[in-house]
Every structure is written in C-alpha cells, then in structure tokens.
Symmetry: C2
C-alpha cells in the first residue's frame, strides 16, 4: 500500500480550519466551487469539476481535530480502496493540517499527479484561511497541460 502525505501550517484557528473541511461553503472555497452534501458522519459529499467528480462518505469527525472520508461511487479505479484524512493540530504559532490519502494499491503516475495536485489545493486552503485568494477549481493552479 502507498500513501500521499502533506503538511501545511496555517495562521488560523482549529475551528476555522474544521469549518473549511466540513461544510459546503468552506470546501467550495479551496477545492472546487461545486460541493454539495457536506455534513455529519455518514454524509456523502459530492465534489464536481465541470459536472463530474468523486463522492466521499464522511466516516469520522472529531470536532476541530480530525476529518476522515472514504471514496464511493464512480471514481478513478486507483482511488477505490483509498481514504482521506485531515488531522488538525494547533500550536502556539499556527495550526498544522496533516493530510493523508492512504491505501493506494500502486505507486502510479496518477498517484504522483494527485500528490502534486493535493499540495496545490492544501496551499489553496492555507491561502483562503489566511485572507488571500483561494485557488478552488475552476481557478485552480495547473500542474500540467492536460
């Protein structure tokens, strides 16, 4: 099994970060502008990019501390066994977000692409929470000429 991991430090409260990871409005500012379904454990969040995109089931929430999602529905084959976790860790200076997209069956070009793209979106999350402009789809930073 293989995993993507990232870690950013944000000048924002754990509560503000938690809202950005658990509500349609929060998620739509840093990942894609088309998000519906965010909610409590069991909710199915639909992320859409020009009408297509993955669904995730919320599988674990610890308020202000942890958000975990599992993929479901139609998605790239390589994502089918994977899940995604955000850990929120406040310190005196900043709040860290440790991100993982775990349990990939293979370390493929697609996984490497997703790793870079997740970095871009986590920096978008940081930008939004620190008062700068976010880069949610369709204004996301391009990592290739797809």
């Amino acid at each position: 099994m293989y995993s993507i991991t990232h870690r950013v430090g944000i000048k924002a409260s754990a509560a503000a970060i938690y809202v950005a990871l658990t509500t349609n409005e929060g998620l739509s500012k840093w990942w894609t502008n088309d998000v519906t379904g965010a909610g409590a454990v069991g909710a199915i969040i639909k992320f859409r990019f020009n009408g297509a995109g993955p669904d995730f089931r919320v599988t674990e929430l610890i308020e202000y501390k942890l958000v975990r999602w599992q993929h479901l529905g139609d998605m790239p084959e390589a994502w089918k066994t994977t899940d995604i976790c955000f850990n929120i860790e406040p310190t005196a200076e900043q709040t860290f977000v440790s991100f993982s997209h775990c349990n990939w069956q293979d370390s493929s070009d697609f996984m490497a692409h997703c790793s870079t793209k997740w970095a871009v979106f986590l920096l978008s999350l940081k930008d939004v929470l620190e008062g700068r402009e976010g880069h949610a789809f369709p204004d996301d930073i391009q990592i290739d000429h797809g």
Copy 2:
C-alpha cells in the same frame, strides 16, 4: 519504506529540463539560489539555504531522461537512507517530470512537510521553464510559519 512522489507537465523540451536539473545555474533558478558542485556522475552538489543545507552525490544520469541523487554528509536524520530521482518523459503536448524521494524509514510529519515543499519547488521548476518567475529560496513559497 515510504516515498514521496510528484508529477508535473512542462511546456519545455526534455533537454531544457535536463539542464535545469544538472547544472548549478539551472538548479539555482528553482530550488535555492546557492548551488555549487553540479556535474557528472560522482559530483557532489551542495544546496545551501542561508549557509546550511544538504549535499547530494549524483549517482545516475541518462541524458535528457533521468537524474538520480543520493544524500550524503550532514542532513536531517530521516533523509539518510533516501535518494531522489527525476524522470523526464516527453510527449507531443508537454514534457512530464516524475519525481520521487524514496526509501524513507518512517512516514513522519517531516516527510509530509517535505512532500508539500517538493511540490512547491517542482512548480517553481515548471514556472522557470515556462518563462514565468521561479520561486527558488529565498523567494520560495512558504507552506508554514516555521
């Protein structure tokens, strides 16, 4: 063992990318502005950030296709077993750079930090080669408030 992987697509020739990965001048535009020692297999490249930073030995070069480095000298403990590889893959539309930083003993917060930071620097490489401003240290994009 754990690995960081990334993949970016660049509108530049494989030759231009190879130069950016194998010369002091090329490397200094996208990673840190203080680079000495780049050269053939066996060369020891010294990357410095405010006077400190890692050394790498060039362990494999395939012209316009592959660059591999191994860490040596003083470095973070977690880097001691690791090595770094850039694969250059031209297509009709763009040239892909597949990056890996392999053989980490543990999946730590430090590895997650490095994963995000490598993404930032690979996008800096892309920016430079596509005629935009790069973000080499000390003008690198900050991922936390260290």
